[in-house]
Each structure stands twice: as structure tokens, then as C-alpha cells.
Symmetry: C2
Subunit: 498 residues, 2 copies
């Protein structure tokens, strides 16, 4: 057997096991009865361990080294080249960290997640503090396995955004911070928008059906996926033929569920659009979390919160809810879905304020890793920064430092991907508008296929063959750049607020 085929066989089995883990997790989050939790944990642990053993087998390392030699004179854009590159990167990441550290981290985060739930409900940060201290210490140990590095945050960030450096992220956010803060202050001084029309009673089944209609119109392929309810909506991929989405409908908020469905459909269009011949390889999925988030945000915000989208959608939505919306003019509705309202909770933030929540978290997690501040300092610094960035102060730590579970799960280096996703979305959106001159009018007619096809051609089909910065450069001509997003925000909100 040729070495590359040997690799593909191993890679296929690894993908199978990862897909199995995804199925177990999807079931757990959608349908599993409470009683299944204990045995499901054992099942997940066993498959994870087998996957890890298979992925870190020394024989695979040797095979990859030999293949790296072979690939030297190959086209760097070829599938084989990219497969060896991506597998070597992942093999290196997984084998550099001693098994004991992996196990200790798993134990610490399992305990911390449980403690977080208690601490969250009691708004009692002191209870979580020692666990977070442990987790940050273990993440420092993890980073040390990848020394030397330019910045201790680099190895953590690299898990989510291959090749991206902390210095790049800092430069981007330093550019964003003053302009976005200024926008928030500017809008704060304007008369505020009224979104009471969204806060009425709306039949969940009718909301659900409307979400299905929109996802279908976006081109979500129901032969290769399905929609279910979940407490925390997510998209999951069992293979290119089975990309499932979940959503959460609120009976007293009209657009929360719809935008959640559009957001997840955006993720799913990306996964469903990967070239079929990349199936059952690690190339057959989105390139990074930020790139993925760019696609969910593009569909949720650039499309879903646009004036043109509601030209098409509002008359139909009004037919679904004549009592609630019959007297609400389109303009009022459009303003309502774009209302800016600084608040303490990230997951409720609007487009104008969202990035500030991220910047705050990024600055704090880096400062703790650099040991410039301690975990004990977090609640107070959190409050101060919230006041500085958004002019609001959490009344307790549940609305502050305890609101996200990420750190308790050991997920450090992840938050920036949310904000980078917004920026990449705007860069790609700008490019798509140039490439499809009629785009806005198409959206106004509910014609989303030209946009989806353009995204498929320029982004989706590549899967994760290219690292995020390289991919953004291929599509837009530059690496990640916040200006298009800032311009998008200023243009959009000045038009609405003035």
C-alpha cells in the first residue's frame, strides 16, 4: 500500500471515531433522558481514549515524517499535501503534552464545571476561585509544552486558530477598541429604539416553522441534516452527508429563535458546502472557529438583520402573526431587530456591543496567564472594564465574571474567535457585495442561492485545507482586518439611528 493511502486509512478511522463522539454528544444535548448521563460519560470516555491512542501512536508519527519528506516537492494546494500538513500539526499538538497533564486537566475541568454551576447559581465567585486558579496553572503548563513561543497565549490560541499569533490578535483588537467604543457612545446619545413588538407571545410551533422556511431558503440541505431543539443551540457534523443543527425557541421573544436558527444554518451551510472528496478526512470541515463564526454571523447578521432580508421576510412573518404584528410598520420592526442596548450579558449582546464583551475576556485571560493579575482580581477588574467599555456594571458576579462556563471547562484562547468571526464576516461580505452587484436586491427577493454559491466557491469547498489567515487572504486579498466590520457597523447604525 502507498504511504499516503496508509495514512488515509488511519485518518478515516480517526474521523469515524470523532463522528461517533459527535453523535454521542448530539444525542446527549437533544434527546438523552436524564438517567443516561452516567453510562454516556463512560461511553464517551472509552471512545475518546481509543481515538487518542490511535492518534498518538508512534507508528503514525513515523508515517507522517516519511510523508512530509515525500510532500516536499508537491503542490502545497493539493489535498495530499494539506492532509499531511494538518495531520502533522495535530499529531504534534497531541503528542507534545504528557498523558498525566492531559488526565489532570480532564479531572480539574470536570470538577470545575460542576463547581461553576453551583457558584453561578449562588453568584459566589469565591467558590469557583481555587478551581480557576488550578485550571489557569494547568493551561500555563500546557503552553510550556510548546516552548519556545513568542507569547504564552500562542499555543492556546493555536488550538482554535491554527497559525494565528497573539500579537496579531492584539493588533486587531487595539484597532477595534477605540472606534467601537466611540460608536457605542455616539449611539448612546441618540434617541433609543423601541423593540417592544418583539416581546409578545408567539406560538413556538409557528416560530419553528418560519425558521425552517428561512433555513430552507438559505439552501440548508434537509437530506443531509435535521433541526432539533437544544438548550444551547449548536451545529454538529457526523460527516458531509449529515450536518445537524439545533435551535431554541422562546415563546415570548419573536426573533431570538429565528436568529439562532439562521446562525446555526450558517455554520451548517459551510459544513455542507465542503467538497465531497474531502469527506472522512480532517480537511472535510471548517478551517477554524473564527472562520466558522464568520459564516454563522454573516447569515445571522449581514443577511438576517439587513433591511433587504426583512423586505422579503416581514410580510410573511406578519401573516404568521397578524395579531401581534398587524399594526407594526416594517420600519419599526427593522429598527427593533437592530436595537443597540449595552448590557452585562455577552450572549444577549447586539452587533454594536458584542466585541467589547470579547475584548474584556481576552484581556483578562491573557493577564492571568501572564501573571500580571491573579484569578482573585478577576471580579473587580471585570466590573471596572464593563463600566469603561459599555457603561454598565453587573450587580453581582452571575452577571459578571461567572456568566460564561468557558474558563471552567478549561477553554482559554477561544473567546477571541467570536469577535474575529464578526470581522472576517464583514471582510467576506464586502467582497461578496462587489462580486455580486445585485446581491442586496436578490436578498430583498429572498434569493440567497447566488450568495451561497459564491461562498461555496470561495470558502466552503476548501474545508480546512488552508490556515485561517491564509484563507482570508485568498478570499479578500488581506489577512484579518477589522476595518470592514467597523465600517459596516458605522454605516448600518448611523443609517438606523439618525
Amino acid at each position: 500500500m502507498k504511504k499516503i493511502d496508509e495514512l488515509k486509512q488511519i485518518v478515516g478511522e480517526l474521523q469515524d471515531l470523532q463522528a461517533v463522539l459527535a453523535v454521542l454528544d448530539w444525542d446527549q444535548q437533544t434527546f438523552m433522558p436524564r438517567g443516561g448521563a452516567e453510562e454516556r460519560a463512560a461511553q464517551t470516555a472509552t471512545v475518546s481514549r481509543m481515538e487518542h491512542e490511535k492518534f498518538t501512536a508512534p507508528a503514525l508519527g513515523e508515517l507522517l515524517q516519511e510523508l512530509q519528506q515525500e510532500m516536499n516537492n508537491r503542490d502545497p494546494e493539493s489535498d495530499d499535501y494539506c492532509l499531511v500538513k494538518v495531520m502533522s500539526r495535530e499529531y504534534n499538538r497531541k503528542t507534545r503534552v504528557p498523558a498525566e497533564l492531559v488526565a489532570e486537566f480532564a479531572r480539574a475541568t470536570t470538577i470545575a464545571q460542576h463547581e461553576w454551576e453551583q457558584a453561578y447559581h449562588a453568584a459566589d465567585f469565591a467558590r469557583l476561585r481555587p478551581h480557576l486558579e488550578k485550571i489557569f496553572a494547568l493551561r500555563r503548563d500546557y503552553a510550556a509544552c510548546f516552548a519556545p513561543y513568542d507569547h504564552i497565549y500562542d499555543p492556546l490560541l493555536d488550538e482554535f486558530e491554527p497559525g494565528l499569533k497573539t500579537a496579531d490578535v492584539m493588533a486587531i483588537f487595539n484597532k477595534v477598541r477605540p472606534r467601537q467604543t466611540a460608536l457605542i457612545h455616539e449611539l448612546g446619545a441618540r434617541p433609543q429604539l423601541d423593540d417592544r413588538c418583539l416581546h409578545q407571545s408567539f406560538d413556538p410551533q409557528v416560530q419553528w416553522d418560519f425558521g425552517v422556511k428561512v433555513a430552507t431558503q438559505m439552501g440548508y440541505d434537509w437530506n443531509r441534516g435535521r433541526l432539533d431543539r437544544a438548550l444551547h443551540p449548536f451545529t454538529t457534523t457526523f460527516g458531509l452527508g449529515d450536518v445537524r443543527i439545533t435551535t431554541k425557541i422562546l415563546p415570548d421573544h419573536l426573533t431570538s429563535g429565528l436568529f439562532s436558527t439562521m446562525h446555526e444554518s450558517g455554520h451548517a451551510l459551510y459544513e455542507q458546502g465542503v467538497a465531497r472528496h474531502l469527506a472522512r478526512t480532517p480537511l472535510g470541515t471548517g478551517a477554524s472557529l473564527a472562520i466558522h463564526e464568520s459564516q454563522s454571523r454573516l447569515w445571522e447578521n449581514m443577511v438576517g438583520r439587513s433591511r433587504e432580508f426583512w423586505q422579503w421576510a416581514y410580510p410573511q412573518l406578519r401573516q404568521c402573526f397578524p395579531t401581534q404584528l398587524g399594526t407594526v410598520p416594517p420600519e419599526t420592526f427593522y429598527a427593533a431587530v437592530n436595537r443597540v442596548q449595552p448590557s452585562c450579558i455577552r450572549t444577549e449582546a447586539d452587533e454594536a456591543t458584542y466585541n467589547m464583551h470579547i475584548m474584556l475576556r481576552l484581556e483578562l485571560e491573557i493577564a492571568v496567564l501572564e501573571q500580571k493579575i491573579t484569578v482573585a482580581d478577576l471580579p473587580e477588574i471585570w466590573r471596572n472594564k464593563m463600566e469603561e467599555y459599555l457603561g454598565v456594571v453587573p450587580t453581582n458576579d452571575r452577571e459578571g465574571v461567572l456568566q460564561d462556563v468557558h474558563w471552567s471547562c478549561g477553554i482559554i484562547g477561544y473567546f477571541p474567535t467570536y469577535a474575529l468571526g464578526n470581522m472576517i464576516a464583514a471582510q467576506i461580505w464586502e467582497k461578496a457585495r462587489t462580486a455580486i452587484p445585485d446581491l442586496r436586491r436578490q436578498i430583498g427577493r429572498g434569493e440567497f442561492m447566488p450568495l451561497r454559491e459564491w461562498l461555496r466557491d470561495h470558502l466552503y469547498r476548501h474545508g480546512s485545507k488552508f490556515e485561517p489567515q491564509e484563507l482570508v487572504r485568498r478570499i479578500t486579498g488581506t489577512t484579518i482586518d477589522p476595518d470592514p466590520y467597523l465600517n459596516y457597523l458605522y454605516d448600518k447604525y448611523r443609517e438606523i439611528y439618525y
Copy 2:
């Protein structure tokens, strides 16, 4: 580590992998979109292969041999003793058969299932014949791996009913055949019952809700399971904390869906009732297919088709469907659900005729294995026996030899478990009625918990610690015996038909 703990660790991981395969299969049969089929097949194959490799590792064989020594002076009813016994039996079964034969059988049955679909729709047995010939030949080769045996059917039967011998099964069926045929002839000469009240239009959601109500009343634990739709209803166990059932509702038949739900709930009560400390071991599940079927049939037939059950259920069902049932007297309804009607299709057979369908299949599959008849003879012998046993003749092979997929899947030795389940159900039912003198009145009041608790104490909790014959003897004092079933049928139908 003690050797027995070493075994338990391996056993736990094997159970995890088997549970994962069950999750993959459940999802495939309930929710998986069409597009997921190809990648799901790869996932299932990879996990199956890993499970097989783990189960047949020579180190496990050595460990089991050492443990068998250790167990010599242990209590044969202890969990450890039973675990070593069951694992040794399975290890022996899996390692006796050469890998090439396993692979060839897998290939042949995959092709044959596909061919069966085509042949079934075209009612064209000639198309399937060569594939069935191959499968019967491969099953003969399989049996040869377990030589010497008393009968070539023994090793096949043993897969489903550990320890049961072909001679026992023949003796049982030889006793059943004349009495059950006589009953069918006797009832055929009586005025026939009218079941038109069941064949009306019934809202599927109302049917569904009624099934849920009955399953709940039976004591199905929704915290450790759930109900979904499936084309071919089944019960599946992901662990003692997650035992799921499925059902199929027909909009134009009232009780088809209800009895399907009760049947699967019966299976599920058994699994949910296994002692918790047997979890994550092969002892933590039903003892055999026949024992399992005895529990689904007991709840579906002995309870669900009893006069007392409908005393409790009919007034409520009538409230659900006042238009359809308002003028149908309880007596008419009770007769309708117990109508005897010889027909060609096994899955539609009533209690009085069901076993004859099984006997026919058993006689044919044994005769082919013994090479007393050929596969080519099957259609004609099938027709002759149908006429002899039930007085009906299939008009084509779709209604005859092609109706079941089992043989095309390579499942030979399985059919008798359906009929044995009926007999065991009646034996246990007779015992339960003696033990709970008030049982019939309890059922008439919808009080099923005393019955479930008695079954749990005497059967469910043991899991698969004991072989089926031993288990039946422990509960009823004798091994499998058809008389209670025949008495049950005669008593019941004479009361209804005279």
C-alpha cells in the same frame, strides 16, 4: 490489580462500544437523514471492528482461563462466577470462527439484504435463491466450527438461546403442533368475530398520547428512556439508565400502534428492571431472545389483550375517540382485539395462529441445513405447509417465502425464539397469577405495579446471569413447557368464541 477487576475493566469498555453501536443504530432507525447513510456505515464498521478486536484479543482469553480456575470453588450464583461464565462463552463463540469466514458472511449478507429488497418487491424468489444458497452454506461452515455437536442447528440456536438444544425445541414444537392446529380448526368452524371498529380513522397524535399513558401506567421509567417513531419498532439499551423504545402508529388502525408500544414497553421494563450493580457488564441485559420476547408478549397479550385490561382502558380510549367508539360496546371491542384470522403474513398474525408461522420457518431452515431439502424447494414447501397449518395459500412469494428479511440477513436460528417467548410468557403468567391472587382485579383497575414488581423480583433483576432454561426453571419450577400456553389459548378463545 485483581484478575477479576482486570476483567471488569475490559468488560466495561466492551459494553461501552456495544452501547455506542446501539446509539448509532437507534439514530439511523429514527432520526438520521438519508445523506448520512454512507458515513454511518463507515462509523459502524470501525467501531464494530474495534469491538471485535478487543473481544478476541488472546490476552482476554488467557485472563478468562485463569479466572475459570479461580471460580471453581465460588458460588455459581455469584455475579463474578456468572460474569466469567458468560464472557468465556462469548469469547469462545467469537474466537472459534476464522476471520475470513466472518468477513465472507458479512459480505454475503450485505449483498443478500439488498437483493431481498428487489426480490421482495418483484415477488421474484429466483433472484434471491443463489444468495440464500450461499448464506445457508456459510451457516453450515459456521456450525462446523463448533463441531462436534448433537445437531447442526445447535450452534446457530445457541447464539440466541444459550444452552438450548435443537432436540428440546423439536420436542416442544411437536407437542404444540397438533393442539394448536386443532384449536385453529375449531375456531374456524365458529361464527367469526367482527373487528371493523378498529379499522376507522384515528388521529395519530391522540393514539400516541394514549400509548404513552399506558406505558407510563405499566411503569416504564421516562427518566431512563424515551419513545420515538420507527419504521420497524424496536427497543434498544444504551445502559441501565437509558432504555429506549420506538413505535409505529397507523392512522387507520386503532390498536396496531398501541400493542406495538405495549410490546416494546414490555421489553423495556425487563431491561430497566435489571439490578443496577450489573450495569456495564454483559450480565446487565435480558437473558436471551426468547426470555425477552416472553416479556414483550406477556405485556402485549396476557395483559394488553385481556378482558380486565380493557375494563380499565376502554372507557378512557372511548373518551379519546367518542365519534368512532361511542356506539361500540365493550364486549364488541374486546372481541375485535382478539379476532382470530389465519393469514399469510407472520407479523400480522394473532395469538392463536402465530406459532404456526414459526413452526413452518423452523422446519424449513432445519431441513435446508440438514440438506434434506434445497433452497430451491422452499417456495413450494412453504405453500404446502401454509395450507396444512393455517388453511391459507400465499398468492405469490412476497406473501410467502419472501416475506421476512431474516434469512437474507443470515439470521438462522432466531425464528423459534418468537414462539418460545409466547410459551415462556404463559408459564410465567400462570405463576404470577398464583403468586398475586388479586392480579386480574388489579389489572381491571389499571394497577400494574404489583405485577411489574413480581416480574422484577423473579426475572428482571437477574439480567443474563442464568441461561434461559435454568431461568425458566427458577421461576416456574420446570424448563420451557408449552402446556400453559396451549391452556391459555384454549381457555381464552373458547370463552370468546362460544
